[in-house]
């Protein structure tokens, strides 16, 4: 097992190098380059910019710059924000809990619903429920998240006035759990819609794959009760592609969270990203890109390890 994890960690190295190369390249692609905030400021003299260039090490050859930058990335020195001069990593980590809460609740909701729908559909294949669920999933996948969010705000916040339209807390109620939950319901459900659709489709095909196999027929012939067959026999075997999906879907989850957070004014990383985009805060943007990429790599790694834990065939091959 340790051998497998080490091998898998080694495979992540080229990914990390690739990700850092793209991140570094993008930063230099930015109009004005890494010094945009100074070069675009008319009050700063040319010789001052030259001095800043030297202080930042931008007069050095590109490969030296890259190595310095990458070393900073891996040791937590992610630079400072243009406005306010705060460490980028600190600014990002500050927004992490809100995003994790939103993504976590949406994902849990979507997994529960999606698994239930997918399993029901697989068990009663080609039935009415199955037909409705697969068609419904296709509909749900076609909904633009941001428009769905706007419509949810219109119906539940403006017309019915059941739930708040945005933010995280009521004014003066910061820290109140009830206020937080009330604000969480709409964005979490909106974000969960598309994920539920994906999960139900994958759960359905994962279970269909397993249900037709001999060991399930054997168990059923032995007289094992259906619920036990489903959870003890089918589930562990169908879980593998679903755990893999969890890793693969992470980038989509981040994309969805970004869109949802903008609509609902949820103070998470997605919101930070859009704000930073508007203020041309390149260090924050690059920091966010690198942060999500690291997160995705780590997520896929964890998913692979979890699959290897379930299935000895994988870690031995």
């Amino acid at each position: 097992m340790i051998g497998f994890i080490l091998r898998r960690l080694l495979q992540a190295v080229p990914l990390l190098i690739g990700v850092s190369l793209i991140g570094f390249g993008l930063m230099h692609l930015a109009p004005g380059g890494p010094l945009a905030v100074y070069t675009l400021n008319p009050t700063i003299q040319a010789q001052d910019i030259e001095r800043i260039r030297i202080i930042f090490g931008l007069d050095q050859p590109v490969h030296v710059q890259y190595l310095n930058w990458a070393a900073g990335m891996f040791t937590g020195h992610w630079g400072n924000t243009f406005f306010g001069g705060r460490p980028v990593l600190e600014v990002i980590l500050e927004r992490l809990p809100a995003t994790m809460l939103l993504m976590g609740s949406a994902l849990s909701l979507a997994m529960l619903l999606g698994l239930a729908i997918g399993i029901l559909g697989a068990v009663r294949r080609y039935g009415v429920f199955d037909a409705l669920a697969t068609t419904g999933a296709l509909f749900a996948l076609s909904f633009p998240t941001f428009w769905f969010g706007l419509m949810a705000i219109y119906v539940f916040a403006i017309e019915l006035q059941w739930l708040p339209s945005g933010g995280m807390y009521e004014l003066g109620e910061e820290g109140s759990v009830i206020s937080l939950l009330r604000h969480l319901v709409l964005p979490a459900c909106v974000l969960a819609l598309v994920i539920t659709a994906t999960w139900s489709r994958y759960a359905r095909s994962a279970f269909l794959e397993v249900i037709d196999q001999d060991f399930i027929r054997t168990a059923s012939a032995k007289g094992v009760p259906p619920a036990r067959i489903l959870f003890r026999h089918a589930f562990p075997n169908a879980a593998k592609p679903l755990i893999a999906l969890l890793g693969v879907e992470l980038p989509f989850l981040f994309s969805g969270a970004l869109v949802t957070e903008t609509i609902f004014g949820w103070p998470g990383m997605g919101r930070l990203f859009v704000d930073a985009l508007g203020m041309k805060e390149y260090p924050v943007l690059m920091g966010m890109m690198m942060f999500t990429a690291f997160f995705v790599i780590a997520g896929n790694l964890l998913a692979d390890v979890a699959i290897a834990l379930i299935d000895p065939r994988i870690r031995l091959s």
């Binding site: 690739g18 692609l29 930015a30 428009w147 706007l150 980038p251 989509f252 994309s255 890109m289 995705v296």
Partner: protein, 282 residues
């Protein structure tokens, strides 16, 4: 069992048929937008602001905050959104097919390098990548389409590569190789046509996701710029009037949903018909 299966297939293919009809209607309406639109989509009429839909013949879908005719804006916006969607799809498919064929057919170092690059690109959430690049380049219809296309080809390349790996081992490819046909010619003339089915399916589904992406970035202000209307930037304006004039937000969103659905249904039906191996519902 058989009857329910037939019923299900029927439903499925009826959806694909619906998708095809919707797509055809949308393409026609985009093509003939100038003729179909009741007036100039940029014409301001401050005397007729916020007219409700379905109330008069002069403005069948009402007017917006500047008195512009919503139907005309939807038709012209559809033109913009579909153009971006189609150009982005072509970019995606060309890039993805090229990378996939090179990696799958040549194998070895080329394959390893290209696929590691694909893995790397897939580590970034597409919307993040898209927004950063879109914010860096001056927005125009061409640049938006290219940026969307160049951030979404990775899955296509994986699909094509997997297909090519199988085609490469077949006898007619070996025959061509033995006959001394140059590799590039084998790739284009022998391998590519046999990978056409999954490429066609991916292309259809990619139009849907490109239209979705265009609407996201235009909604956030980094895509299609006013006064040029797109469904995405119509929603940006409409958001401010959500409490008083909700139809301004309902209509463009419904147009996006209809388009995305049309292409998704069509793509799903094509997949069922062309490539049974890829079916989601075996």
């Amino acid at each position: 069992m058989l009857r329910t299966r037939i019923w299900r297939r029927f439903l499925h293919h009826r959806l694909a048929l619906c998708g095809a009809v919707v797509v055809a209607l949308l393409l026609a309406s985009a093509l003939f937008a100038p003729a179909l639109a009741p007036q100039d989509p940029t014409l301001l009429d401050t005397a007729a602001r916020f007219r409700p839909p379905f109330a008069s013949w002069s403005h069948p879908f009402g007017t917006d905050e500047l008195g512009r005719d919503t139907l005309s804006r939807l038709l012209h916006g559809g033109r913009v959104s579909l153009t971006v969607g189609l150009v982005a799809m072509v970019t995606t498919v060309l890039t993805g097919a090229m990378v996939g064929i090179l990696a799958g057919y040549l194998g070895g170092v080329v394959d390893a390098l290209l696929m590691r690059f694909v893995d790397t690109m897939l580590c970034f959430p597409q919307v993040f990548l898209l927004l950063v690049i879109a914010a860096f380049v001056p927005p125009s219809l061409v640049s938006i389409s290219l940026v969307i296309g160049l951030t979404s080809w990775m899955e296509v390349s994986r699909i094509v590569r997997a297909e090519v790996l199988q085609i490469r081992e077949q006898d007619f490819v070996a025959a061509a190789r033995v006959l001394g046909v140059p590799p590039l010619r084998i790739m284009v003339r022998e391998v590519l046509p046999n990978a056409a089915a999954p490429i066609l399916v991916a292309a259809t589904l990619k139009v849907a996701s490109a239209v979705l992406m265009e609407s996201y970035i235009s909604y956030l202000g980094y895509g299609v710029q006013p006064p040029l209307a797109s469904w995405g930037n119509m929603l940006t304006n409409a958001q401010g009037y959500l409490d008083s004039v909700p139809w301004l937000a309902i209509l463009p969103g419904a147009a996006i949903t209809l388009t995305v659905m049309g292409f998704n249904f069509l793509g799903d039906g094509l997949r069922d018909a062309l490539d049974p191996r890829l079916r989601m519902d075996r």
